[in-house]
Subunit: 171 residues, 2 copies
Amino acid sequence: MNRQPQPAITWREDMIPQDVTLIERFASASGFFRPDEVLLAADFAAEHLSKGPESGYNFIFAQEGDQTLGYACYGHIPGTLHSWSLYWIIVNQSTRSRGLGSRLLAQVEQRVAAAGGERLYIETSSQPMYHPTRRFYQSRGYTLLTVLEDFYARGDGKVVYAKTMPDLAKG
Amino acid sequence: MNRQPQPAITWREDMIPQDVTLIERFASASGFFRPDEVLLAADFAAEHLSKGPESGYNFIFAQEGDQTLGYACYGHIPGTLHSWSLYWIIVNQSTRSRGLGSRLLAQVEQRVAAAGGERLYIETSSQPMYHPTRRFYQSRGYTLLTVLEDFYARGDGKVVYAKTMPDLAKG
């Protein structure tokens, strides 16, 4: 059986109005987020759409031709000099296991390092369903810093990871 | 020597446009904040002024008659069910050592508990100049959860405290 060559992924940073709905759909379809978290993901996008980089939220979309396969949202942490946060990486369900999450993460890391960032923080949940998520970040060089028990909800703690320079620049 | 009876403190939650400048002056005069942090304090106030409670930032001002002696800024942490954060307590330099910080903190705790909050987080700096700040929170029942080294800047870590229910409701 012949395999079709897959179109190359391109990276898009400019947001278009349709992205807000798209992000809401991605977040909702992932099955990982409560309704208030889905709205929060869409809020971040709407903030960026109306204020641009001033919003403090940067976006990068993975494109395959016209189709958006996933995105990452990250930003400089206000009140810090060189600390950044990765807010979300969400990949379209149907394109899982193509390594797109890793490639999006590498894109974010390169951009953070290029902007003078020295530390990239990732906060995620301590719940069992996030085990693959935590393993993903650990396998990509992120160090577990702390767990704040019951942070998100009772029984749902916040796990904090970070990757620092010079590892960050290696992507 | 007679001591004048001191006018009672009243608590004000409605913000007026002049508060933005006042907060900037308080933050700047405290000597505790970098210029970007002073601007951030003013930004939070401007957000609240334009959006109200929707901003996610609540304010409480300590009034002695017409004069504002200090304020606290706090809010529900987006993406969590019952977690709140105290962003700032700043007291006018000339009114230090009158216990106003403690009273502002108690006011915040009561309001958070009344709103269904179960945990109040406080983030502050690991730098030596913040030793009195850290002692202040520890003496008021806050538990040290973690220190994220170099978070704010090189050599300036983030120290995270929390107070949880039922201690929170006791103020």
